[in-house]
Amino acid sequence: MTRGRLRPRVVFAFVLALCWAIQSMAGEWMPLARDGIHDPKSRAVKILQQPQEALSRLTPDNAGNQVRWVQALDKTEIRPREKLFAKTEVRKLDRDIILDVKGGMPAVRFPHRQHTEWLDCVNCHDGVFKMQTGATKITMFNILQGEQCGICHGAVAFPLTECMRCHSIAKGDKQPVIPPDVNMQMHRSRGPAP
């Protein structure tokens, strides 16, 4: 009786371990020749840098490129150039926007700092998002279709599976609870920008 009950559990544990092994193998970066898009007959796959070589040295993540890109930048593991032309003005902004959401999900904190490390204002304003806070209606429907935040998140920036990285501000009694570490230059999703 005991044996009969135990064996399926052993099998279950084995299968779980197998799944875990397969999952962790998926965490490795595919060589270019086997990535499914490079032509293995091309000279390039022997010459170009392999993802494994470059990405395995950076702060790891469990999604996307398996790299925490913002952390890699903050820790100066990478030093990407900010401009090509001397006359270009490098613009950065350190201001958080708290976007309250309908339903049960925690509110979204949008940090300008991390975004302007990579991007310029014109990449979002005034096209994808209006400059005025709250003037653009943002929906998960649009985002999941690759619009708004989904232009980058789901393609090059961390994917949409990582819900809580954006929905990070817990709700108290209907209002988002702003943690003390959040930049207080923030403003809510309605009303004009300061």
């Binding site: 099998v11 299968v15 150039r81 090509l84 270009t88 991007l119 690759g146 393609a155 994917p159």
Partner: protein, 132 residues
């Protein structure tokens, strides 16, 4: 009968778990953010271009290409010709034998499998802004 039922249920669950695992891994092939550029290439007898975002973002911030060089953030929405590149626009701003290799190294960029459509590859749950 009850045992058989739970055994079947368990086997079913295991199978589902395995399927989920394999589905997950079969998707991981192209690196996240790899872009296939093939509006002009194959029409003109060249392999499609593979643009690896991961490689470039180690060396340049997004704003360099997407603000200074004018690449729109939507795969397939930029008409990039070799004339542009040779004259120093788009890829040619760096691929000029100064910052990066010159456009004479055709097959280093034109390295994709024939027949690939233009778009973002290696995506997780969405295909990204691949529609234009």
């Amino acid at each position: 009968m009850k045992f058989l039922k739970s055994g079947l249920l368990r086997a079913g669950l295991l199978l589902l778990l395995l399927v989920v695992c394999f589905l997950d891994t079969s998707d991981v092939s192209a690196e996240y953010g790899d872009v296939v550029i093939n509006r002009q290439a194959e029409k003109n007898g060249m392999r499609p271009v593979i643009f690896p975002h991961w490689f470039h973002r180690i060396r340049f911030r997004c704003k360099v290409c997407h603000a200074e060089l004018g690449f729109k953030m939507r795969a397939g929405s930029n008409t990039i010709t070799m004339t542009d590149i040779i004259e120093g626009r788009f890829c040619g701003a760096c691929h000029n034998n100064d910052i990066a290799w010159s456009p004479e190294n055709c097959d280093l960029c034109h390295s994709g499998k024939p027949g690939l459509p233009t778009g973002v590859f290696g995506g997780h749950e969405t295909s990204g802004p691949g529609r234009w």
